[in-house]
């Protein structure tokens, strides 16, 4: 079965996001009232699997996220046979 996964990897709460801070500051400089800005990482992939939930969970745990500093969330969509 073919699937599509949309995965977002977030920095854990309380961890400093330097890229987000700099981009947020640039928006402030443009006159916007920005609070906190974060830059999560987004992955989009198609894959074949018999057990899509388990495979995506594993891909996140083994490579896409670093459990010391990240949390992750995902959506899986079925594409067909």
């Amino acid at each position: 079965m073919k699937y599509k996964a949309k995965i977002i990897v977030h920095l854990k709460e309380g961890l400093n996001d330097p890229e987000g801070r700099v981009i947020g500051k640039a928006l402030k400089n443009l006159g916007y009232k920005i609070g906190e800005l974060k830059v999560p990482k987004y992955f989009e992939l198609t894959f074949e699997s018999e057990n899509p939930e388990k495979d995506v969970e594993e891909m996140c745990r083994r490579l896409l996220a670093n459990p010391v500093i990240h949390t992750y969330s995902y959506e899986i969509e079925r594409l067909g046979e």
Partner: protein
């Protein structure tokens, strides 16, 4: 003579310098392409650089290479494993050392000389230093901001001022507790952001880093 593998991934640099530093310290060293085997080596050095262009996270992709299973096996046999800069990032990503290396607090590449305080002389890499000794080495990294949520970390080197005082000003990248280098509990796996191989001869500006390699060679000989 103790023989060390200096592992080369796509994008590694400092490998030749590391080989020279090990030779100067009295060991044998060979550059080893990451698709080779680590049979017949007494220890491993993961040198600096930007393996896989630092894609995803610095060191993340190299850490999942097959050769790292062999590195883990050698580590469990108490053989010395040293990770310098990108090598440190690979060691944390592979789980051989706790924690993670994040982008520098001010998100830019840093290349400068720093002072370090030697905090632990009981590891395979610090036997020739004195506790509290202040040494000078260069750093060159964009992701050297060490973070851990584990309270049990063996801190080996800390960024300090030239008198050995651990101050916020002396911390170049925002690492917690000014951490510049840590080891595993047993002391045979060390990761450090500063480059000891770039401080292994007087004409380089310092030879304070040579004792890392001397200690490692001596540790195998013991």
């Amino acid at each position: 003579m103790p023989k060390f593998a200096v592992i080369v991934f796509p994008g590694t640099n400092c490998d030749f310098e590391t080989v020279e530093a090990i030779k100067k310290a009295g060991g044998k060293a060979e550059r080893v392409w990451y698709k080779s085997s680590l049979k017949d080596f007494d220890g491993v050095v993961l040198p600096g650089g930007f393996s896989y262009a630092d894609y995803l996270r610095a060191g993340a992709i190299s850490a999942r290479a097959e050769i790292m299973e062999e590195v883990k096996a050698l580590a469990s046999e108490d053989k010395p494993i040293l990770g310098i800069c990108n090598g440190f990032q690979i060691l944390t990503e592979s789980g051989l050392l706790p924690g993670a290396l994040r982008p520098n607090k001010v998100p830019r590449f840093l290349c400068k000389w720093v002072y370090l305080r030697v905090n632990d002389t009981q590891t395979a890499f610090t036997k020739f230093y004195e506790e509290g000794e202040v040494i000078r080495m260069p750093i060159a990294h964009a992701e050297g901001n060490y973070y851990t949520d584990s309270p049990k970390v063996r801190i080996v080197f800390q960024y300090s001022d030239e008198k050995g005082k651990i101050t916020e000003d002396a911390n170049p990248n925002g690492s917690i507790l000014n951490i510049a280098g840590i080891s595993n509990e047993k002391g045979n796996v060390l990761g450090m952001m500063p480059h000891p191989e770039r401080a292994s001869d007087k004409w380089l500006g310092s030879e304070d880093g040579l004792k890392v390699f001397k200690s490692m060679v001596e540790y195998v000989r013991r």
